[in-house]
Symmetry: D3
Subunit: 252 residues, 6 copies
């Protein structure tokens, strides 16, 4: 089974960390292919960065489809471009945000999310509402650390995340914690041991759920909003990305 | 990895069908142990049957815990006794209803459930509300067939289920179907092919999700409603089921 | 009019307290019959205890039906087994939890619940969501006292409940309080006087609502999930509890 | 016990019908006092009529308070002026709409409302959302008959109501029916027998719930939106209605 | 374009303040006509005052219709009588509460409301739920100042409002503030500058939205609850307010 | 006042139609600047097209900001890229979808949306949930016509839209209609006259709401998810789009 894990930002160190987290949890027969786009932001913090991350990420998904990927994992907690990817791909696609929320819902009545910057809170809240799982989430909390600072031990990031977990237990009655950034993948086990509750990393959660879908033989339904994009020309530098289209003349 | 799949009713033929469905989807390294209670109803149709199915089912879960089960699957679509089982067990517990709803949410915007009797609709609607996934479910439909009639080809059960799937596509804009009874486990593949949309069987879904949780090393949180039951005596024939208690005298 | 009040736990002192609270509020022409199961836990704290309380409680409801009860009250704040009881009984059935929520909704915009242990919070939250009254409940609070400690004045239980009521007024803007345990039935009047807001005891609330339903001649609808259980055999020690069934052979 | 039942419209025949329905269900020791305003519309069909019904109705509630009423029932299905009445009165106040919704919630999973004109549907839908019971209501249906036509057997009103009940059972899976107009009070028993499900009349429901509140000694909380109106002058013809105020000069 | 702004209370100073706020934001071609009722309370604090404010306010709306008003603005934050006014008027009607909520929703993910007295909180919460925008409102806060005290600089009202805004930013994560009283219209600009977030005054918001509707040529739909009131007699002092009716005899 | 209206697709004919609709409703002092991206799909039908429309659209918004635009209107009914645009722009940004929903909410209790293809339904449903206005929308309907076919009278598109409006009135009790595609801007007036209810075109609605915000001096809050994107390098062909960043080396 080949699972394509795409890091939607363009930072190699992130891709490596994600690759490592994915391989650590994959079943014996599962092959992990970790990629990153050739264009876009070095980290994703908010809607604007997302907008420029998605086109390159979709290109990676199309390539992985051609290479026979059995499932795709989008390794950004915003579930960046998840809907578009589902329209494009034949294989199932899972975002690490939704994966973590679903797993947390299976082991706790209520969970809290601890993410990086306050800027990211509304994105996750919107996703939770759409997925239906907002009622299961006690609160989305931000530790106040930039995404890339997670890579720097001197940033005090781990301590701040730990403090938010403590607050989530005490003030939100959270029974489980979802770590709201792919860059926190390596912290889950230690934080779970320290705080005595399940701490979910989305990358690992998504890889195992992707394996589930493949084993079940279940793919994205093509009946509603995930029907394939109607073929049409794309203009300008995006012409190559059109599905069944091709370049159009000036303004079509 | 040992996954305990408990059929909460006392019909051997049901347990066998569930056992078969579970083995068919389990990973190479996964061992399936299928059980059924020694006491209780031969099928579960509504709240009253549930009430008498749960005590015997919990006994099976306690035994399987002692035998080292890594996860438990409750193989009734009502997710019969799921909360109590989570309080009791150290290993994670998954109901086939919730498993199917979560899997359907990963591959479709909206799904419909097709179950056996109208009597079962409110049970599932209540569960969907609690899980948060009611907003993802377009409708719970009943095919109007008793549970045990599913075993009889002459009952016309498959045709009625198929008709409800057709109606769910046309009238509810359902993009995926959840088969709402453990006894329909063997129908999913054919119905998916026939109707051109994902058709989810809960037994298979729950087994793969159980594998996910075990691989992730995630167990039920013991911080909220799933904290272990406070020890206390149980009176009368239920005395042996008390946790850390023991029999009490008359009326405690 | 005969109202059957069943205490689902097996503690005689609880049954007596409930009996007393019920008689205190009953109309002149109303006869109260208070019972408790012959089997099950001595107190109900969480889902697991509930599972072993319900079978014995349903037996009491069946007996009371035979004796001509006009209505049944289930005197546990979890509304333990309410759905199953409604399926079984011809007469209307009211849980003391739901009774208290409905009464509070008639005299306040928002109410808070003060219960015993944190363990019980999710059970009540789930019920509130199902009943539709979650939007009327500002918060479910736990005073951190075991159910049976309510009987011991030295436990400081009343002071802790009082402190939670104060917090509910100040922090949750609660306009009324629901006492979330049958064992608090004797505290309502004093706490209402002390805190200057309505304090609702579920036992009293349920008895008066039961009288309402009987006087209205309204019984549980048998059209949906409360349709009578389809007859079928029950296996083992539960065989006597089957409705219209009878014992089956080994594993049916 | 003295229960004041106020018909907010100015039609004597309506008041008589309501008085009759109230007396029919009242307990032996309960005295019913039925009133109607001296000013306002002869029937209430929509928000505009409501606006001119409330001032006169509140005057009746104030008078009944002075006469020692133990509870007030507002006998219009819109629960006309219920909030203002709760602010004004010391005794509890119940609207027949809310009473019927609460009673229906105690005997059915889902109910439907059958009212007179389509114009009234949004009013009831708004109330249901506020009360929290919208999730329990399958649908609000209008029979397409003016309020006063209910008094004319030749209007075919009963047949149209009956047809809507049939549709509610078939299409909405309603398990109980709420009759959405005080003028239908005399139809409940026959319709219940004919259709085989609980049919709730709000006047009777409200009277029995009012008795419940009085027996429980529970009054409207004065902590939130129902705190007494701050004293202030009212200008013009409404000066006599000011609470603790008195007439003011030109435009205050 | 003629926009009729009606102050539903009878305080001239309030009407003047509202008139000023409306003129300040109106487009060059827009004419503002500010009125107040000839009868009713000098300020509106809670449901009871509302009940006596509406009849006089509706009379002003009817007069303004006759004078050719293109739109009506109801200048009380409770949106007092908005539904009845929509039934009565041919021109569109906008409440300053709803106007502010809609405008806040266009410039912020979540907003908070700061109003005068705690008594007013439930009224606004109910409106927010009905409008659908409750999910956009982080919290309704009260500054604890009577409406008319806003006119007295020595009351410390502005400081208290400012403190609540600070709390809303810090504790509710509010991104914008809605000032919940027409009497605060003159504070918006200063508070916005001081706190660095949008502060919305409902009078100004409603006037610009009214201009939008007029320019779009969109009027209130007459298909649902806003259909014209069916003609009927009104009794007593309200006889002149009947629509297409006329006075009736004794009690109709 | 300069309002920038950006058509997110690359079809000149669409931009012209939008430009025309915007100018038709703009106030005398308002200048309309209609643009379209230099890259991207010729029409937007679903999530995948959206992903490739947003980057070019954001570039147009940045240019318009530099030219002093007072407000931006995104003229696609999906509100394509609205969140990212709000993060980027200093001036307020309004999507034509949200504009139409807000305007419809001001003139009707419930509205229905009639859009082009079924594929677009989930996008709009998601937006409605996020905006909070899902409870105001009776149904999103698709007329089954591709976006560009709207330009071809022989396509029968108008007839199909008209049929869906009829169904929305009859089956959904819709009181107003929102036309769910910028390409339907020229149909609103005729359809409103024909069907006797408000028919809202989003382009016109958004232009007037943009004028409202500018006149009110209200801009997007920068406190939550719309805080400016943290500066960072973008890689590859997207490097020029980075905010405060600049090109990065290989994979950063």
């Amino acid at each position: 089974m080949l699972i394509h894990v795409v890091n939607p930002n363009t930072s190699r160190s992130f891709t490596d960390k994600i690759d490592h987290a994915a391989r650590a949890v994959a079943s014996p027969g599962t092959q992990i292919s970790a990629t990153q786009p050739v264009m876009g932001p070095v980290s994703i913090e908010g809607y604007y960065d997302e907008a420029y991350a998605i086109p390159g990420m979709l290109a990676r998904i199309r390539e992985a489809e051609a290479l026979g990927a059995d499932a795709h994992v989008i390794a950004c907690f915003d579930d960046t471009g998840l809907d578009a990817a589902r329209q494009l791909a034949r294989a199932p696609v899972i975002g690490i945000g939704e994966a973590a929320y679903h797993v947390a819902s299976l082991v706790a009545g209520k969970f809290a999310v601890v993410t990086t910057l306050a800027l990211a809170i509304p994105v996750m809240e919107h996703n939770l509402v759409r997925y239906g799982l907002a009622t299961r989430c006690a609160k989305v909390r931000a530790a106040g650390i930039p995404v890339l600072a997670l890579e720097d031990p001197a940033s005090g990031g781990v301590e701040r995340i730990s403090a938010e977990i403590e607050a989530a237990k005490r003030d939100d009655h959270a029974e489980a914690i979802v770590l709201g950034c792919a860059g926190m993948a390596d912290l889950a086990a230690d934080l779970s041991a320290k705080h005595g509750l399940p701490v979910i990393d989305g990358v690992a959660a998504a890889v195992t759920l992707a394996e589930s879908l493949v084993r079940l033989g279940v793919r994205t339904s093509k009946l509603g909003g995930y029907a394939p994009p109607p073929p049409k020309p794309y203009v300008g530098i995006f012409a190559p990305f059109a599905v069944g289209g091709g370049a159009a003349g000036d303004g079509a």
